[in-house]
Symmetry: C2
Subunit: 620 residues, 2 copies
């Protein structure tokens, strides 16, 4: 960090194409251009390019000009304005405490973003600008169009292969239409986090009938960091596949840091506003007030945050339920609210003012991520009374938010042994009426610090399969320290593979396309294609030991020359016995022992003549 310029005159963000793939844009109605990547295979394979889902934004497009001081182009600018339901207003003046001036400066000294919008958008009085509101009115927005094209990825290619999977009640269509997206958003089963003040973001959906998404957390909390590395962590995380990024920064300069991130982010950004509100009151939970919190929501909504974690389910009566826990309350937001509740011995202001929060959310289309402040922090505390009491309250709040046409997802645990994971999903679907579930892991054991990306990937893959719509990543540093760049990458790739394993198991129509292409490349020793098709081509190549024998391509299996009928039908003793007994019935299929022996000898000869190889090299 020492060698970085804290003034970010020219910060280093990672740009350039991901190895072996090309940025493409698929055209939709009204000039919509949906970003994807295509992996091109060796011409010898005779295979079409493999399209892959790509949240990396313009950074991986060699034709794009990247200037993080200017920010990304405003992809959604006209879509938002053309709806005619927003008005410009002057941005709320930045206050000293917005940048956490009360705490020590651990940020490395962040300059304000040079290109701050002085005029921001909000809904016209009486208007509601949420995607859910449009959806309920039957309007298919460009955002929904974008999502449909994005999600269809490779489905045309896969249409002729039979569906295969166990979706636990999810209703995944063969093909995603914009109308399907609209319907899912209208009934609350999916959200499109898309603040009207974050027009730079490429629309994406979170819902159990769409591909499983992943979130990466970044933030300058707790230890020294700087804005350049936070912006790069966001770019870096989306490069490897993060579908959304949560900025969990605390301390100094968080308002300015967030502005840098938002203006440069191609993915939706989430935050936990209570963190900043707490900074504003000098870290004293009991000094928090509804007014300070509401002002923080407006501050962040105007900047363009796409979803807010709101721990409105941590109610006073639930706090004592955590007293007997092994690890108490582990959510930071949960602890803050529990302290507030205890200090005042009053019901949480988040719970009591929930309708007012909805009013703010719908004026900007900020989605709710209803926080699980009482999630278990250990195997011992999984699925307890406190956790489920909160979950059912989140269900109650979901219905309140939906009454305002606010988009909602629900956060979930945490630490859960495998046999208790399903119950989390089942109860969530029931309590929250299929609002998308967004879980952290869960970690399936507590005994492997340093490997919690793995203990949690095991749980994440399962809960993703059962129906969780987005998985919040865990890095190897979980419980131990703050993730660096490498940890962020390992966390993202680990969660991408868990999400993909879930997609395969759910039977997403085109999920197998990439696996099959990679497996064919593996079988045919097309190393380059194998690397390029993998989630992390650089690591795959680096691990590939050049001393391994270079084997030639192999394609046809010897047995495909005569097909399986010959051997399997003719040689087993059982079948011979059967044939002997049923000679008359078998009719022309009859083959006696001598004939069989002769046939076998011929096939043996043929095999040896072909070079005695199971697989026959191409064009031999």
């Amino acid at each position: 960090m020492a060698d970085r310029d804290p003034k970010i005159s020219n910060p280093n963000v990672t740009t350039g194409p991901i190895r072996g793939s090309k940025k493409i844009y698929v055209e939709g109605k009204g000039g919509i251009r949906v970003a994807m990547r295509e992996v091109h295979l060796e011409p010898s394979s005779g295979e079409p390019p493999v399209p892959v889902y790509d949240p990396s934004g313009p950074y991986t497009d060699p034709d794009a000009t990247i200037d993080i001081q200017a920010g990304l182009p405003e992809l959604r600018r006209d879509w938002i304005r053309d709806r005619g339901d927003v008005e410009e207003k002057t941005q709320r003046a930045v206050k000293a405490e917005d940048n956490g001036q009360l705490g020590p400066d651990r940020s490395g000294g962040v300059q304000p973003f040079p290109n701050v919008r002085r005029r921001v958008l909000r809904a016209k009085p009486g208007a509601n600008v949420t995607q859910m509101h449009y959806a309920k009115k039957g309007i298919v927005t460009p955002e929904m169009e974008y999502v449909a094209i994005r999600e269809n990825l490779g489905r045309e290619q896969a249409l002729d292969t039979p569906r295969d999977g166990e979706s636990f009640g999810a209703e995944i269509p063969d093909f995603i239409t914009p109308e399907f997206v609209r319907d899912e958003v209208a009934r609350g089963r999916a959200i499109i986090p898309a603040n009207i003040n974050h027009p730079e973001a490429e629309p994406m959906a979170i819902g159990r009938n769409f591909l499983v998404k992943i979130n990466a957390n970044i933030g300058n909390s707790a230890v020294a960091s700087d804005v350049a590395s936070e912006v790069d962590k966001m770019v870096w995380a989306t490069r490897w596949g993060a579908d959304t990024v949560m900025d969990l920064s605390t301390g100094r300069n968080i308002h300015d840091t967030r502005e840098w991130i938002l203006r440069n982010s191609p993915v939706p950004i989430g935050t936990v506003p209570i963190y900043q509100a707490l900074e504003k009151v000098g870290g004293i939970a009991e000094d928090l007030t509804w007014e300070i919190f509401a002002d923080t929501l407006i501050e962040q909504a105007e900047q363009g945050v796409d979803y807010f974690t709101i721990h409105a389910g941590v109610r006073l009566p639930y706090v004592p339920m955590t007293a007997k826990r092994v690890t108490g309350i582990v959510s930071r937001g949960g602890s803050i609210m529990a302290k507030w509740c205890l200090a005042h011995h009053r019901e949480s202001f988040l719970y009591e003012k929930f309708e007012e929060i909805c009013e703010i959310m719908k004026a900007y289309d900020v989605s709710f991520s209803l926080g699980d402040g009482l999630r278990p922090g250990s195997i011992a505390d999984a699925n307890d009374e406190a956790q489920f009491a909160e979950l059912y309250t989140l269900g109650e709040l979901t219905k309140k938010a939906w009454a305002h046409d606010c988009q909602v997802m629900i956060e979930g645990p945490g630490h859960v042994p495998m046999h208790k994971i399903k119950e989390n999903m089942t109860k969530q679907l029931e309590a929250c009426d299929e609002a998308p579930f967004y879980t952290l892991g869960p970690l399936t054991t507590d005994i492997a610090p340093g490997y919690d990306h793995i203990t949690s990937a095991i749980g994440a893959a399962q809960i993703g399969w059962y129906g969780t719509a987005m998985l919040c990543y865990v890095t190897p540093k979980e419980h131990l320290g703050l993730p660096d760049r490498d940890d962020v990458k390992v966390g993202v790739v680990t969660y991408k593979l868990a999400a993909h394993a879930a997609d395969l198991a759910k039977g997403h129509p085109a999920a197998k396309v990439r696996d099959d292409a990679l497996s064919r490349a593996r079988f045919e020793f097309r190393w380059r294609d194998q690397f390029n098709l993998s989630l992390d081509p650089d690591t795959a190549e680096q691990y590939h030991d050049q001393t391994l024998p270079a084997e030639g391509a192999k394609t046809a299996h010897f047995c495909s020359m005569c097909g399986p009928k010959f051997c399997s039908m003719k040689i087993t003793q059982e079948v011979r016995d059967f044939a002997a007994k049923q000679n008359s019935e078998l009719g022309t299929q009859r083959l006696d022992d001598a004939d069989a022996e002769k046939g076998m000898a011929e096939m043996s000869e043929k095999y040896r003549e072909g070079g005695s190889e199971l697989y026959i090299p191409p064009r031999q």
Copy 2:
């Protein structure tokens, strides 16, 4: 490798205690001393030491003298001889081809082990020395005693906590008795791999009513290696928790390398004898004969190999079933046998001579690991006809082996998407009558080379939960290159955590003890204890960022001062309403609004007086 002395005059193997733990020996009947480790916690915790399962042998005992040129002490020597059913014979003379003289020397030049036994053991004529044979006769062997003590680990501590888990039909007792071990071995539901010529190994059980075990593969195949690094890889793998080790060496000096490994291994060693047999015929599969194979079995049985992978289920009629696969036959042993079958167009000699193989196995108590030569090598090929045809043949062979009182486990896949994993376990239990299942992963997606320890840990944890008894590890180098020391460690720790996640989910009575101890340490900021209780204390400490704020110990939750009753019963509006309606019924529990408000104000005051913290520091 360049700086290692190929003569191994003083090879470097890793010795010394694992950080934060102490080797202990629990005494059993007849002077049996069962090795375990104990993690001692900070005295401030007031908690007892946590016992952990420990396959690392004498290498982690500071009181043991390690001399790898002499080999380990013969723990089981007297147990074996005292049964009176073995006789000494001169070891089969080492032939030039045993060391693979036909291939290129990639071994770095291995000296013969200096302490080779010239006299080896085998069963007296007509005798059967398998643990299953004793078990069926009702004899509880010292090996079974050892296993019982080893598996009981911490169960006394856990006896008062209720069992919690979903075991899918496994019958895990609260407490393991030697008689229980005997019964499980007798009915074939568990094996104790324990060749009479490997008396150095500490007895362990593989079966679904015992703790889930893991295997690590080592071997000098394909690239340069040397015996010192192979011995150390074995020691290193067991240090981190490998319960068995498979030596998959090929090429030159494999006989001598195996001798070094066996004489120094505290865990059962498995091999795939067909690999060595193939070396003996210059790598030409069709030149393999039953005689060469049988001679190889005897060679390895006399050395002390504890289990043999035998691909006897790869039958000629099944080979064509793989012709349409995306990745054909990926098992090396499977390919060898498929080639042999096709070259001769005859049934596999392993299948036809199976009874003769049993005769050899039972003379040394080598356990069968019936190989899955037709396992799927890609998501596309999972659960196909070829795979299950072979599985049912393995079931048929299990019964044949059991008729000889031979111990058997069954190998399983491979690459399987999550929704198809359960079927593997269900079919295996049915086809093989609950003989222990031993799977490689399975990998749950193909698209993450470089991360296949993780793609497979997801599958391994699940199949372990469903009933698989041993999980064969996968390292990050899978599909790409040969694992180095770091990869071996990452693979072992990853599989330990997957196996432990499975134990937790199955409801093994004491599995939670370690999780709970670590979670309490985490909650109370006992960092040292947290590191020491983890699977990899060194990495945990290394990742622990010293810049993180040192927080003080927290113990009691504020709410435990008045218990959950107060808030949860008294403040919710629902309860107040209910109380108003049912005043008469509630009787003494009645509390009116004014009383409630007063009580709340008092609690608020009390909380602030206590420092406004959720958790109260100890002894304040």
